[in-house]
Symmetry: C2
Subunit: 183 residues, 2 copies
């Protein structure tokens, strides 16, 4: 029940079309939520029907027109209320860990390969998050940034993304160390 809220939170960063939102979800928000463009289009329609976002058409030359969505006051209220609800526990769902669990009847080399790929992806993601962090900080130290008081949330979710990927790197490394030199 809460892609809605992820969309609203993403729109806090400024108005966007469905297409632009999809990219935003791929960059900053990917860290804690994911969605396909189709989901976004469907949910934006609903959010508009519920008055939580408003849409206006922006005409463009040499480009198809686009519908740009903005948070309404009701949308902000909804977000505020949402933050007061208890968070639901996260449910893990990782393909690769299922494969790992089935290692004894599986193909160890293939699983090792997948972990190698995971490791590399995590390194790339971490590098991307680090770059995003530089942009956010804009030359200031973390303390200076936080002292400004604004946008603490986005900084902390980014921190979450970085720590999460660091953890993935640690774990993949540990698994490979155990599986790779099998003697």
């Amino acid at each position: 029940m809460s892609l809605r809220h992820a969309v609203l939170a993403a729109l806090l960063e400024g108005e966007a079309s469905g297409y632009e939102l999809a990219k935003r979800f791929d960059l900053s928000v990917a860290n804690f939520w994911s969605a396909t463009p189709q989901q976004l289009y469907r949910d934006l329609e609903r959010l508009e029907a519920d008055g939580l976002v408003s849409a206006r058409v922006v005409e463009q030359q040499r480009r198809p027109n686009k519908r740009v969505f903005t948070l309404t006051a009701a949308g902000r209220d909804e977000l505020h209320t949402f933050t007061q609800e208890p968070a639901r526990p996260v449910a893990m769902r990782d393909d690769l860990l299922v494969k790992l669990q089935a290692l004894d009847v599986g193909d160890p080399e293939a699983v090792i390969k997948s972990f190698g790929a995971r490791l590399e992806r995590s390194r790339e993601k971490l590098a991307r998050y680090d770059r995003l962090r530089e942009v956010l900080l804009a030359g200031r130290t973390e303390d200076e940034y936080l002292a400004a008081g604004d946008r603490v949330g986005p900084y902390l979710t980014l921190l979450g993304g970085r720590m999460y990927e660091q953890q993935n790197i640690r774990y993949a490394t540990a698994v490979l160390n155990i599986l790779l030199p099998p003697r």
Copy 2:
């Protein structure tokens, strides 16, 4: 497309009824996959129809009869093939990080409270995983256990669960440290 495989992997630990599987999912498997009992019943039907598990009715006195499911040879093959497929990237979906992202329009105290609750849950889960680890090791060191060669997969997924919760604890602590003494 892969609760199926999580179920098959869970059945590697031995035959089980739908009800028992649900509990198994809550304990050992919860770490990397989750499912409601209803999903399990539905999927077990399908797995049986596809010949990947076989069912037999166990009559019980003073208890309702139960249908106990076992992996078939075809089920094991399916698992083997599954481990060879490339793993799909994990998609994060965390309610609480959405709330954190929306902190500036949200209710900081409520969010802080939620993080406190998360922290506590992670500590409990970690303790549970640690107990499971003791049971698995059965007095041996990690090296001795791994040298035995069997059941390496389950050990590594458990390691994953432990590291994951350790990470959650670190992150929640970091967030609280930044949000709590706001000056």
